[in-house]
Symmetry: C2
Subunit: 240 residues, 2 copies
Amino acid sequence: MQPEDFDKLHSVPLFQDLTEATLRELVKAAFLQRFPVQTILFRQGDLPDFLHILLEGSVQLTATSPERREAVVDILDSIEAFMPAAVLTGTPYLVTAKVVHPARILMLPARALRESVARDGSLSLAMIASLSRQYRTMLKQIKDLKLRTSTQRLGCYLMALAVQNGTDGTVDLPHDKRLIAARLGMTPESLSRAFSALRKFGVEVRGHTIRINDAVRLNQFCMPDELIDSPEPELKIVAA
Amino acid sequence: MQPEDFDKLHSVPLFQDLTEATLRELVKAAFLQRFPVQTILFRQGDLPDFLHILLEGSVQLTATSPERREAVVDILDSIEAFMPAAVLTGTPYLVTAKVVHPARILMLPARALRESVARDGSLSLAMIASLSRQYRTMLKQIKDLKLRTSTQRLGCYLMALAVQNGTDGTVDLPHDKRLIAARLGMTPESLSRAFSALRKFGVEVRGHTIRINDAVRLNQFCMPDELIDSPEPELKIVAA
């Protein structure tokens, strides 16, 4: 690994509290790899060989049913370790990972990772924090799916995007509509219906640009909830 | 804590690999408590004071929307730590925990737990295993919600119960139908419709007793999937 790549690793939350020595030990067997769009990093049912850590680009995690229905469980586009739960416990991946924007990925061999986690207390605390964050993110998605109609779900998604972008109410969709539908657990047709239904709450659609004209009314209809919609921050195990 | 209670703790998966000394240290501040049905152990939004570990009885985890809709995220009825992700990171609970069958619960003060986890490598590895298992369980629920129709979801739920009970195809529902509907993400009305729809695949309902007359046909319709329906076993971090 190049020295400038090594420096990048300090920006990975999982590695932030590690000493330089532990970090060097851990990445000795690791390598950085670029992947083009459409690359399958691993498939549902595979046993993990590596922990993939996304440094740049975007990756979609998809579940497939025996009848070949597909659902998007998550779209990763910031620095994030994929499925540490499977990698650490050596259990089959529950999803397939596919690159959707050209990606730069750090690959840590699973065995070396498990050894480091077993040996280094600060790494295992970082893993607990990462797993806790991902657990909470999944739980929020279950709440989103079970507590809301699809129209409310879309409305809350748009409002969260507006908050994230800090805009005055104009939002550019970060993915194509088919992918957004899959992430929200809808067919493309029900996504269109949900966009139409939001029109009477002041939501205007122009291709990929969405305008929220009346945030108060949209808010009253969608009922956004911090315990569902706010993205989980990086967490720490605080002993004191 | 009584000596006989202390012995019970060895059956808690989270504690199985701990030395007697560490275990004693950890439970010094802990206590056992019985709770009647309907007790609220904690509410969505509360900050955790304790890690609750269910030893006997049954507890339902419910999410509530701002408009007071409710969804059951999970029903715990075996030895299980509740929401370690919130307790370890000191973040608000995302769900409310309510006792549904009289419960016996070990309560570990959150601060003492975090200190022990930071100090004891074997405890933090056990926590990683527990969080991984719970993460995977939530991910399976998302797949169940996104990939299946409600009728398929009910069919798979019944087949999983039959496998779990090792029966010839007769299943007693473990909870009342309203709770099962909420757990599967349906209204009681859509649960009734789903039961009716399963009739033509040989599913007979007599109150709380369900008879699966043609497992092959039901199977063909529901398409059960090991990567959704099999309960996650207790996991370990295997370094070698």
